[in-house]
C-alpha cells in the first residue's frame, strides 16, 4: 500500500479526522477537544524533535498536563503553534535529562504491556518486523547526529508528510527559511549516511 493511500485510509477511519464545530472568535477550546484534535500531532512532533518511540506516550502526557494547566491563559490564536511550542520545550527538557536517565536505566526492563499489545496486534511477520526494526535503528542513528532544527524540518517533511507551509506555520518562520533548512538537512543527512557507511555502522 502506498504511503498516501495508507494515510488516507487511516484518516478516514479515525475519529481524529472528524472536524469539531467551529469555535467563535477568541473562544477557548475545551481541554478534551484540544486533546482529541491534537494528540496524534503531538506524538508526531515529539518524534520529529528527537523523542524516542518508546517515550512518545510519556512525552504526550507531559505536554497535555501542561496544556491542562495553561489552557485558561491561552490567547486563542494559533492553537497548533502554541501546542508545538509546548512540545518543543517538553522534548528539549526530556533530551537534557535523557543522559542521566539512560545512565540509570541502561539495561531496559521489558515493558510487558507493550509486549502484550504486540501479541494482540500482530500484522507483521518476524522477517518484516526485523526489517522494520533495522530501518528504525538506522534512521535513528542518522537523525541523532543532525542538528535539532534541521532534523525537525526533515522528519516533518520527509517522514510525516507535512508541507513547507504547515511547518512554517508551526515554527513561526517564513516558508523560505523552512525550505532552506530542508535543503541543508538533506545535505547533512547524505553526509552522515556516507560517513556511517564508511565506518561500517550502516548496512
Amino acid at each position: 500500500m502506498s504511503s498516501t493511500l495508507q494515510k488516507l485510509t487511516a484518516e478516514s477511519l479515525s475519529v481524529d479526522a472528524i472536524k469539531p464545530a467551529p469555535r467563535a472568535e477568541g473562544e477557548l477550546p475545551s481541554f478534551q477537544s484540544v486533546y482529541d484534535e491534537h494528540f496524534h500531532d503531538v506524538l508526531r512532533w515529539a518524534r520529529a524533535m528527537g523523542g524516542r518511540d518508546e517515550d512518545l506516550d510519556d512525552l504526550a502526557q507531559e505536554v497535555f498536563i501542561i496544556v491542562r494547566r495553561k489552557l485558561l491563559r491561552f490567547d486563542g490564536a494559533n492553537l497548533a503553534g502554541w501546542l508545538y511550542r509546548i512540545t518543543q520545550r517538553t522534548v528539549r527538557d526530556y533530551r537534557r535529562a535523557a543522559w542521566f536517565r539512560n545512565l540509570l536505566a541502561r539495561k531496559k526492563i521489558a515493558d510487558p504491556e507493550r509486549a502484550l499489545l504486540k501479541l494482540v496486534e500482530p500484522g507483521r511477520g518476524p522477517a518484516e518486523e526485523q526489517e522494520l526494526r533495522e530501518a528504525r535503528r538506522s534512521l535513528t542513528l542518522i537523525l541523532d547526529q543532525m542538528s535539532s532544527k534541521q532534523r525537525t524540518a526533515f522528519v516533518l517533511f520527509e517522514l510525516e508528510g507535512y508541507t513547507g507551509e504547515e511547518i512554517a506555520a508551526l515554527e513561526g518562520a517564513p516558508v523560505s527559511t523552512i525550505f532552506t533548512r530542508l535543503h541543508h538537512a538533506r545535505k547533512e543527512f547524505a553526509a552522515i549516511v556516507k560517513r556511517l557507511k564508511a565506518e561500517r555502522r550502516l548496512g
Partner: protein, 253 residues
C-alpha cells in the same frame, strides 16, 4: 533527484519518498529508510490509553522539574568526583611536610575565627615532626572542636560537615555506578547497600534505591520485587516509578 536539484528558498520541494529516481546513493538509501519506517500511524487505542493515563494523573511534575533534579544530582556527583580526585592526590603524597612549615599545604577547611586554646585537654598539641592530618581528618577534627573548648554538647560546623557528608555520600554512589558500568553488579549492589545503610536520610536515597532495584534485577536476586514495592511506597510520585512498576508488573499478570 540529486543533491544538486535540492531547492533553496522559495520553490516547493518534493519529498524524498515520493521521488521517482534519486541519483545520489546516500539520498536513495535515506529514501529507502524513510519509506520503510513511514509516518507515525494513528492509533485510537493509543489515544484512549493516553486519555485514561491523563485522567488518572494529577501530577504536575514535568520533565523540567525532573531535569532540574537530575541536573542537581549530576552536579553533586561531578563535584564529589573532583573532590575525591583532589583528596586522593593529597593523600598520595608520601612525605608529609611538618606542621607549621612554610611549605605545608593547608587542609581545605573553612577558616576558624576564634582560635582554640592550645593546651585544651581534649585537643592535644601536636609536635612539629608529627605529620599533618589529611583533609577528611581535619574536617572531622574541626567538627569536634567546640567539644574541645569545654562545651558539653558538640555542635558541628554545619557548612563543613554538610558538604563533607554530601561528598562522601555521592562518592559511594559514583563508585557504585562505576562498578555497574564496568559490569560488576555484585560490587555495585554492595556499594549501594552500604550507601543506604550509612546514609538512611541521604539526599540520594531515591537514586540509591532504584540502583539497588536495578542491581537486584540484573543479579536475578529475589528481593527485586520487595525493593520495587518499597520504592513505590516511599516515592509514590518518584521519577523512577515507571521502572519500579515494570519490575512488579509480571507478578500481577
Amino acid at each position: 533527484m540529486s543533491l544538486n536539484d535540492l531547492p533553496t528558498g522559495g520553490s516547493a520541494p518534493r519529498a524524498l519518498r515520493d521521488a521517482e529516481r534519486i541519483s545520489d546513493p546516500e539520498l536513495a538509501f535515506g529514501a529507502q529508510l524513510l519509506g520503510a519506517v513511514g509516518p507515525l500511524p494513528r492509533s485510537e487505542q493509543r489515544k484512549r490509553r493516553g486519555w485514561a493515563r491523563l485522567s488518572s494523573s494529577s501530577t504536575g511534575l514535568g520533565w523540567r522539574l525532573r531535569g532540574a533534579q537530575l541536573a542537581l544530582a549530576g552536579v553533586l556527583i561531578a563535584g564529589a568526583s573532583s573532590a575525591g580526585v583532589i583528596q586522593y592526590l593529597r593523600s598520595s603524597q608520601t612525605t608529609p611536610a611538618p606542621r607549621g612549615s612554610a611549605a605545608e599545604p593547608r587542609p581545605r577547611v573553612a577558616p576558624v575565627t576564634t582560635p582554640a586554646p592550645l593546651a585544651s585537654p581534649a585537643q592535644p598539641t601536636r609536635s612539629a615532626s608529627e605529620p599533618a592530618p589529611p583533609a577528611s581528618a581535619a574536617t572531622a577534627e574541626l567538627g569536634s572542636r567546640p567539644a574541645a573548648r569545654g562545651a558539653t554538647r558538640a555542635k558541628p560546623e554545619p557548612s563543613i560537615t554538610k558538604a563533607a557528608r554530601s561528598e562522601a555520600e555521592a562518592q559511594l554512589l559514583v563508585e557504585a555506578m562505576r562498578a555497574r558500568r564496568s559490569g560488576d553488579p555484585e560490587r555495585a549492589g554492595a556499594l549501594v547497600d552500604e550507601y543506604r545503610l550509612k546514609h538512611p536520610n541521604g539526599a540520594l536515597q531515591e537514586e540509591a534505591l532504584i540502583l539497588s532495584i536495578e542491581s537486584a534485577v540484573t543479579r536475578k536476586a529475589g528481593n527485586s520485587a520487595a525493593l520495587a514495592r518499597e520504592y513505590l511506597t516511599r516515592y509514590p510520585r518518584g521519577r523512577f516509578r515507571a521502572q519500579a512498576q515494570r519490575v512488579l508488573a509480571p507478578e500481577g499478570r
